[in-house]
C-alpha cells in the first residue's frame, strides 16, 4: 500500500489520512495503530473516509487503487504510502501489514517532510471538475465529447445523460477517473463528429454517478468558480446514493441543504465536516445540476448553544449499533 498527501501545510498541524483498496481488517488495524501514535509523529494524524485526505495509503497490488491514487495526486499535491506487492519496494513510504508502530511513524514523518516540500503548486492547476463545469456552461453547446483511453462518448449537459460505448457501472467510472479525460465541447456545427461518436457510444443512461464521482475526486481541493462562498445554496433533490454509494458526510450535507439554504461557511460549521469535504460535495452537487442558489433575502445562520435534542443520544447509539460512521 502507498500513502499519498496533499499540498503544503505548516508543520505540526493536523493532517488527515485515508486508505484505498484495503482489506477491512487492515483498515481497522491502521485506525487503531494511528490512535496509539498520538504525540509520537511530526504531525498529528487523523483517519478519515474522505478521498480528499492529505495522505492516502493504498495497496500497490490493487490496480483500481493505483489508478485512483495516480489521478488524485495529479489533481492535488499529495504523498503516497504503499503496501508493496512484493519485496522490491522498501522505500521510506512503504508499509507492511500488520503495521509496526515504528515503521508507521517513520512513514508518516517522511510523508510530513514530503508534504512540506510540495509548496502547493499542483493546486493551481485547473481540475477536471472545473474544466467540465466550464464546458457545460458554454453557450449553444449540444454535447461534450469525453475521451478516456480508447473509449469516447457524449455527455449531454442539458439532460445530464451520457452515451458511452459500454455500460457505465462503478468499475467503468473508476477507470475513467483514473485516466486522463479529454473534453471537447460540441455545438450544432460539429454534427459530423457528434454522429461519429454516437455510432460508437451505444449505451445511454444518467450521468449523475459519473458527474458526482468527478466532483468528489477530481476537484483538486478547489471550489468551482461558479460557487460563491457568501451565496446561500440549497439542493433541488436528494441524489441517488443507492447508485453512488453511501457516505455519511454526503448524507449529512444533503439533509442540511434539503432543509435550508446555507452558505459554504454555514454548511461547514453546521455539518462539522472539514472544508475539503464540503468543497468536494458542493462541486459534485453542482456538476449534477442539483445545487441551486437561493435568491431569497436572508440573514446568516447562527448556531444556538445548548439546544436540547428530543432523542438524547439515541441516534448516535443507533449509529454505533449499525457501525455507521459518524458524519461529523
Amino acid at each position: 500500500m502507498y500513502l499519498s498527501t496533499t499540498a503544503a501545510q505548516a508543520p505540526h498541524q493536523l493532517r488527515r489520512i485515508s486508505c484505498i483498496g484495503f482489506d477491512w481488517r487492515a483498515e481497522v488495524s491502521l485506525r487503531e495503530t494511528l490512535a496509539l501514535l498520538n504525540g509520537r509523529t511530526t504531525d498529528q494524524w487523523q483517519y478519515t473516509d474522505e478521498p480528499v485526505a492529505d495522505v492516502l495509503i493504498y495497496d500497490s497490488s490493487n490496480a483500481l487503487a493505483q489508478a485512483v491514487v495516480r489521478r488524485t495526486t495529479a489533481d492535488q499535491a499529495r504523498a503516497c504510502i504503499c503496501f508493496p506487492s512484493n519485496n522490491q519496494d522498501q522505500g521510506e513510504l512503504a508499509l507492511r501489514y500488520p503495521f509496526g508502530a515504528s515503521r508507521l511513524i517513520r512513514c508518516l514523518n517522511h510523508a510530513s517532510q514530503s508534504l512540506a516540500g510540495h509548496g502547493g503548486s499542483a493546486a493551481d492547476r485547473e481540475s477536471l471538475s472545473q474544466r467540465l463545469d466550464n464546458a457545460m456552461a458554454l453557450p449553444r453547446i449540444e454535447a461534450i465529447a469525453l475521451r478516456v483511453g480508447r473509449h469516447q462518448g457524449l455527455l449531454y449537459p442539458a439532460s445530464r445523460r451520457i452515451a458511452w460505448p459500454v455500460a457505465l457501472d462503478i468499475d467503468e467510472i473508476a477507470g475513467m477517473l483514473g485516466g486522463d479525460v479529454e473534453l471537447t465541447a460540441l455545438g450544432s456545427a460539429d454534427r459530423a463528429l457528434h454522429d461519429a461518436i454516437t455510432a460508437q457510444a451505444v449505451v445511454e443512461g444518467p450521468a449523475e454517478a459519473l458527474l458526482w464521482a468527478i466532483g468528489m475526486t477530481r476537484s483538486g481541493g478547489q471550489l468551482l468558480g461558479r460557487i460563491q462562498t457568501r451565496q446561500a445554496y440549497r439542493l433541488r433533490r436528494w441524489p441517488d446514493f443507492g447508485v453512488m454509494g453511501r457516505r455519511s458526510a454526503d448524507l449529512r450535507c444533503t439533509a442540511l441543504l434539503m432543509q435550508r439554504a446555507l452558505s459554504v461557511g454555514e454548511l461547514t460549521q453546521l455539518s462539522g465536516l472539514p472544508s475539503a469535504v464540503i468543497t468536494a460535495f458542493l462541486n459534485a452537487a453542482s456538476l449534477c445540476g442539483l445545487l441551486v442558489a437561493d435568491t431569497a433575502s436572508r440573514a446568516p445562520e447562527r448556531i444556538l448553544a445548548g439546544s436540547n435534542s428530543r432523542f438524547g443520544g439515541v441516534l448516535q447509539r443507533i449509529r454505533t449499533a449499525f457501525a455507521l460512521h459518524d458524519a461529523a
Partner: protein
C-alpha cells in the same frame, strides 16, 4: 431503566420489508407469514399478515425495535397505530410492479404525519426492471407534499438497508440541528 425505540418499514406487498429487517436485525426476524390469498395484488406465495419484528441492541441496554407493516391496505389501521412514537419510516417500493406509485399511494398517505414530524426515506427495489426512474418517484412525492430521499436499493444487501437508515437518521439529526439555529442580522 432500559428504553425501547421504534422504526417502521412499510410499503406494498412484496416490496421487501421482511427482507430488509432480516438484513439488519440482530437475530432472525419474527414473521407472521401466511399463504397469500391476494394473488391479484402480488403473486408471491407467502405474505406478512401481522407484523414482522426484529430488534437491535443499543448501548446502555436500550433496544431499537424494527416493525414491518403488513403490505395489504386492508391493514391500514395497523399502520396508523404503529406510527405513534416511531422514530421514522422506511418506505419500500417495487419498481417492477405495473403501477408502483399507485401501490405506494395508500402507505404514503397513512404515514404522512410521521414523515412530517420525524423522517421518511423511500427505497426503490428492482429499479432497472420498471419504466419509472428515481426522479419520477421524487416528483410524485413532491406533488403530495413530501420531500424525502429516494434511493435505488437492493434490500437483500445490508449496506443498502443501512443507507436508508443513515439517511433517516441524518434527516432527524439535521432537523434538530437546524431547529437550534436562528437567522440573525449580521
Amino acid at each position: 431503566m432500559s428504553r425501547e425505540y421504534k422504526l417502521l418499514f412499510a410499503g406494498p406487498m412484496g416490496a421487501g420489508k421482511t427482507t430488509a429487517i432480516a438484513a439488519i436485525s440482530d437475530s432472525a426476524p419474527i414473521s407472521t407469514e401466511a399463504r397469500n390469498t391476494d394473488i391479484a395484488q402480488h403473486s408471491k406465495a407467502q405474505t406478512t399478515v401481522g407484523f414482522d419484528y426484529g430488534e437491535v441492541a443499543l448501548e446502555g441496554g436500550d433496544r431499537l425495535r424494527l416493525y414491518g407493516m403488513p403490505g395489504q391496505s386492508r391493514f391500514d389501521f395497523i399502520w396508523k397505530v404503529a406510527s405513534a412514537g416511531a422514530l421514522g419510516v422506511v418506505m419500500l417500493a417495487d419498481n417492477s410492479r405495473p403501477d408502483p406509485l399507485a401501490d405506494l399511494s395508500a402507505c404514503i398517505d397513512a404515514f404522512t404525519e410521521l414523515a412530517a414530524a420525524h423522517a421518511m426515506v423511500v427505497g426503490v427495489g428492482r429499479g432497472g426492471e420498471g419504466r419509472l426512474g428515481i426522479d419520477d418517484y421524487g416528483e410524485w412525492l413532491a406533488a403530495r407534499g413530501h420531500v424525502a430521499p429516494v434511493f435505488s436499493v437492493d434490500v437483500r444487501r445490508r449496506d443498502d438497508v443501512l443507507l436508508l437508515i443513515d439517511a433517516l437518521l441524518n434527516q432527524i439529526e439535521t432537523r434538530e440541528l437546524l431547529a437550534g439555529t436562528t437567522e440573525s442580522r449580521a
